[in-house]
Symmetry: C2
Subunit: 195 residues, 2 copies
């Protein structure tokens, strides 16, 4: 077997978008706005699904950005949140952001996490998750969000992670609807028979 490798790298346009940001974003809605703009641009530029995410340190400084790269890279694990978390850890040189200088860290996401990304949140060491669209907004356009524990917000709270929901929800939901209306791929492996 040839031992393959996977390289996770953001589309070139992301650097330009981030370059224009202030050094710090003290307001939570502005930090979430970065995730929303990443989602919006990922659709406009045709680089992936309608999802964006970003990690910020305690001072409101951007540490990493993520966009959905599932179809572009051909990798189902590359949801926006996974990309943002992995790149934040890479930048800080630590698999646990709770132990990195600049903690506590915050993950902002244009849509609530699917089952995989939800599972990834506690392992990442972030202390707060801030979301725009609800997962039902994503399901409404056809994305399968997976089987999440019914009280997933409580399950994160049990691990010391605060969740802020419904901030700029309508903007997040609009990005999802516009993507679906334009015929963007809904890439669930849904072709398998349900049984």
């Amino acid at each position: 077997m040839s031992v393959a490798e996977l390289v996770v790298r953001l589309p070139d346009w992301v650097a330009g978008l981030l370059h224009g940001l202030p050094e710090r974003l003290p307001r939570q809605e502005d930090r979430l706005g970065v995730a929303l703009e990443l989602a919006r641009q990922n659709v406009c530029r045709g680089s992936g699904g309608p999802f964006g995410a970003a990690v910020f340190d305690a001072s409101g400084r951007l540490v990493s950005a993520g966009v959905n790269l599932v179809v572009r890279v051909g990798s189902s694990i590359l949801h926006a949140e996974m990309v943002a978390l992995a790149l934040a850890q890479r930048r800080l040189g630590c698999h646990d952001l709770s132990a990195a200088a600049g903690a506590p860290y915050e993950l902002c996401s244009s849509t609530e996490p699917c089952a995989m990304c939800l599972g990834a949140v506690p392992w990442s060491g972030v202390a707060r998750l801030v979301c725009a669209a609800r997962d039902e907004d994503s399901r409404a356009v056809g994305f399968d969000e997976g089987a999440k524990p019914s009280d997933w917000v409580g399950a994160l709270a049990d691990r010391g992670i605060a969740v802020v929901r419904d901030l700029r929800r309508e903007e997040g939901a609009a990005i999802l609807r516009e993507y679906a209306a334009a015929g963007g791929p809904i890439y669930n492996p849904g072709a398998r028979p349900r049984r």
Copy 2:
């Protein structure tokens, strides 16, 4: 912000281990044995946590291998199953293994998946998950497995994914116990206060 990248690559010893395998492994217990040997060697060689995984096509041919690389790479998303799924998709050039030639694909794992890896399974397009140790065996040595839906086997079945549990369970559990007994890092971000 400098836009970082993440490179996911297996430790060098993996190629040697895989090179010695038959071209096809028709027996499920032998396919799971590859995941177990990956877990065992990952511990012996000090390259990561006590977890291994492998993806096989319908003919029993190995497509990819994965080992836990969390501490080695400094990335909390790099559980063995995630690595194996990502490398299988990379090799086959498709984010959905259910649509790739050689389907249906099987994911073998030395331990039942944590919440993140469980969430990743449906998105990957595999049709079957085969596990050795139970997640309670992993919890017993201190790993947090996350909040999984109580009937996670049923939730996978609802998406057309069969689960085989407890095959060679004791071998998988022994690898976990030996790792913990030798003082291997239990790398949960558990330093945060619970509230």
